[in-house]
Symmetry: D2
Subunit: 338 residues, 4 copies
């Protein structure tokens, strides 16, 4: 067996637990040796122990100051990401951070500067890039076999809307949900976004309006390479997690379908019925969560580039800000305005 | 405009009317100038007139003795096919005949001998060969791009069982229904059948047993070129006409799906529902009926080979006999026994 | 046989010929008795004769003044549509007119006023409404079974760009191509469009820019009923005619796939390959062209409402104008501005 | 955390390692505490240690005599299965055994008698029953919603043929490969098999004939409940693991498609190309291997019935024997002959 990356986990919420389980169960060359959560309780400790993490704490210093810890997983609440990146970088740790880095651009830039100064790696948790189907679409585009990309389309719809208590602190549909799609279209187009225009509406639940938010939005895009694009988001698609991408190029089109719960279908006098898409991101992106962590571990162990870096984290936030601005100001917004 | 093939129609039942409408409406270089039916009535005459056939009769001699008639369409009842082929051939007419030629092998051979003697063309109505999807499957196999064929599979299921009155005179499932599939597997494999084994059952309606018939049957096959195959038939598939073929070859597989009533589908919390296959042969093989007649007209006009000839008519009947013999004798039957 | 609608055809170009063939060959209760084209030549006359139209002329008066003619098919060049509608209406003829009515709003309104005054029917040639799959999608939405529509999406891409000589006089992508899609989204949403925003680019061929046109465009839409939508168009999709619609509603989604050239597919070590979409509108909307004419004939014979009326013709032109305005002025445009 | 089932593993070959990894990584309430292999070497010990198994041995007594061991996983070579079942049963252990139990019927019956005497559980490793799609097909049939089953079809093709050295000891295509499908059709039909007829050929490699074996076979089946069926197997399908089932019932049909490597597809002028099926059983049945073990652990912990029992193991062997007999004797064989 080769070297193992020892990790510290910050945040034991849903996404922190998910990464921790993947690392402990599926990544032979990585190991979480300490887990921190400000709300640490008995349930969390028992859960950690169950997957072999015996060292738990409420204090992030137990990660940053632990000499054995080579890499930090930042899975805490969004407002802590930038500070934890800075503290990790200053401690010389490699960093994996969930998106978004922060909702304040200056804070993001400060964090990225610290990362650069420290010369550590920073990988952002844009997990969808690691989905087999999306990745295949991007690989086909990037190979050039279809010629230049003309139009990039992403349809991204959650199965059910979050509770209003979450909406209140979510940062809005662009920063919380469509940010994944902004990263996806940049990934697919191989180019930065230069302009956005937003159409939005509260169709699922009028209460979204209370937070100056919408539950359904369509954003058109211009890319630096001349391509154009469109993303549509909805907080509620009762048939399951709808996650499809489509890139039209000079010589053809490459797109993908959803994963289904199963491949069985029933033919009767009333039609042909099959399974619906897998329910939500845990089901759809299960393998992708493992794949992104494998890539991070590889990057650390072998000194390779991370596949999703700080610039990707910055750009997706800028585009989210522009999309929101376009919604509020009812006009196309240039990224240069942000 | 070039030359037009003038035709005489024998039989104004469902299939005769179908061919007549296709010729009058869709084939610019063919025309039916006389139509005969022993049960000719006012409705038939009005229908004929409606599509431009003004000359109707009860006497087949009005076809055979008409000097203007270059080609005869035999769409009369099965027991008359062989005699009409003989009379057409002796009159020097080109012949299109619905399947089967006859249920008696000697009669078939006699008819084919007359055709050969007269040097006229005889095309059999195995319409499925002209279906776009089946034809594509066969073209891929015949091209050799997948190497040798190993296994040929045909799933062929009618949407609803015929009335028992029809079953009584149908000649049984092998002669009436599976005969199309015997021709199809020969077409796909590019080889004759040498052995069959039948498993059958009365599952849809026990009354089939009264006629020594079955409503559901699976027949395995050996081909002269070493390939093996299987056909499954059922008289009742409530979801519509199920017509799929599949050929496994050395380097891959080529198969087809059913045509659907439409391409719309609905995704809800209970699943994804699409349209069922088109209802029956009129819907599925609509274009194929036109295509086979175009080929016949071309063969007549340009002196080309017909795409489905007398030997194909003979072989499909022999295989149907062998399949029935296998069912009754509960053993594999060699085609050399027939 | 019942009553037959006698028709006069104006324009013997591609679309005029198409309708004529469908009427003569496939509609038993309609008949073209006179055909007019200002460039009438021997080829046109021979063609007309071949499908049973013996009366040809260069003068539209031979249609308007013919007492036998009950209905007029306007398939002439776009700039003549409005005038021919007016002259048909004044002559008391029923009218089927290809889209668009005109590119000048006043002219359209004048024509519609004459139609109303004369009390004749006017059906517009928005043929896609009669496509089996699109119609099924609309029927599901209109049934209310999925609740309110939230988002309407149309992907509409031609297989190959027209020659620049055509682009010069086409009226631009919005008036010439996307006009079909503006009608489609109104049909699917069951609601009028109130705002559009356009993103466009010359990606296929920079020469489009010479005509202040684009070859690729994405237009977002707001509807009067609160729904939002998006259409994407491209003049060139090398894999064939891409025509898909998708409506997301409260309780689910209904969408459709393209028709394919055939349903065969080949599985090998390098993947699974199937047929591409049918080539262009003649292949895809073949049945729909017949269906729209059947509905027009029914409307005339039975005094029913036409399925696509003058208002639909007017609205689609207004939206096309707004979409172009949005492109040129780089801002969202309200329909109330048009 | 609740009770954990402590297990002993017999056999550290491919399938033994697979089960061990699933248990150690994915089953929180089961644990392998001792692993035995007669060819135990350093590599195996290191591998075992890597997943937390510190106790390795060459002697099966270290499993049977270990008081802590509650359940035994028999993953050793086929000829040892029956004896290890007997020894496990006598030691009062719960048993999970890979298929087949043995190739000698008397030996199987002796083993099952010992299991019954000891009152322990015996689950057979027919993993395909736990595949999501196959299970859905069976659940639909078993629910009765489609009425009685009429025809059961299984297409089962391996991506590449095993080496001849394996063929020599495999027991032949029926005992080694189709045995899974015999179990599958029994599972789908919910009924025992009463008669088989085999057609087979050496098409992939003539060397199979040296072992009185075939590489391609089609077996038709009769079931006790009146249904009929067919299985086709081939040792080589270059496009990947082809695993499809189809059940035609009174009121409709339920079937499944293969899992694909990804859901992306490319449309170009030459067609539409998608991914091929997942490569082989490790890829296709990955989740199913975990699911069958979860069911076994549940059965042990909660005293429930095992989902696949000794009778299923016995019947599949009997049918495999009958299928081979049919091939060699060129006639249908009754199960009562075996």
């Amino acid at each position: 067996m080769g070297k193992t990356v020892k990790m510290g986990l910050l945040g034991m919420g849903r996404i922190g637990k998910l990464h921790a389980m993947n690392i402990q169960n599926s990544l032979p060359n990585a190991e979480i040796i300490v887990a921190v959560d400000p709300f640490l309780n008995e349930e969390m400790e028992a859960w950690a122990k169950g997957i072999g993490i015996t060292n738990c704490s409420k204090d992030p210093r137990d990660v940053f100051e632990n000499k054995e810890v080579e890499a930090v997983l930042i899975c805490s609440s969004t407002d802590t990401h930038a500070d934890f990146i800075i503290r990790s970088a200053r401690a010389g740790k490699q960093i994996f951070c969930e998106k978004p880095i922060h909702t304040d651009l200056d804070k993001i830039k400060e964090a990225l500067a610290e990362v650069e100064k420290a010369g550590v790696k920073l990988q952002l948790g844009f997990v969808r890039r690691f989905d087999r189907s999306h990745k295949k679409v991007r690989d086909v585009v990037a190979s050039g076999q279809l010629g230049k990309p003309y139009v990039v389309k992403v349809c991204s719809r959650d199965p059910e809307a979050p509770p209003m208590s979450y909406v209140a602190v979510s940062g809005g549909i662009f920063m919380d949900m469509m940010i994944h799609d902004f990263d996806m279209v940049r990934y697919l187009a191989g180019s930065d976004i230069t302009e956005v225009n937003t159409v939005g509406a509260c169709l699922v639940n009028p209460d979204f309006a209370k937070y100056d938010d919408v539950d359904t939005a369509i954003v058109t895009l211009k890319f630096a390479n001349g391509a154009i694009g469109v993303i549509d988001n909805c907080r509620q698609a009762p048939y399951g997690y709808d996650q499809r991408v489509e890139v039209h190029c000079e010589k053809g089109c490459v797109q993908d379908n959803n994963n289904l719960e199963n491949e069985a279908y029933i033919s009767t006098a009333s039609g042909v019925e099959g399974a619906k898409p897998t329910w939500f991101f845990l089901e759809r992106y299960n393998d992708a969560f493992i794949a992104e962590m494998e890539d991070f571990v590889d990057a650390v162990l072998e000194g390779k580039e991370v596949p999703v870096g700080g610039k990707d984290g910055l750009e997706s936030v800028r585009v989210a800000m522009a999309a929101r601005k376009s919604l509020l100001e009812k006009r196309p917004v240039q990224l240069s305005e942000i």
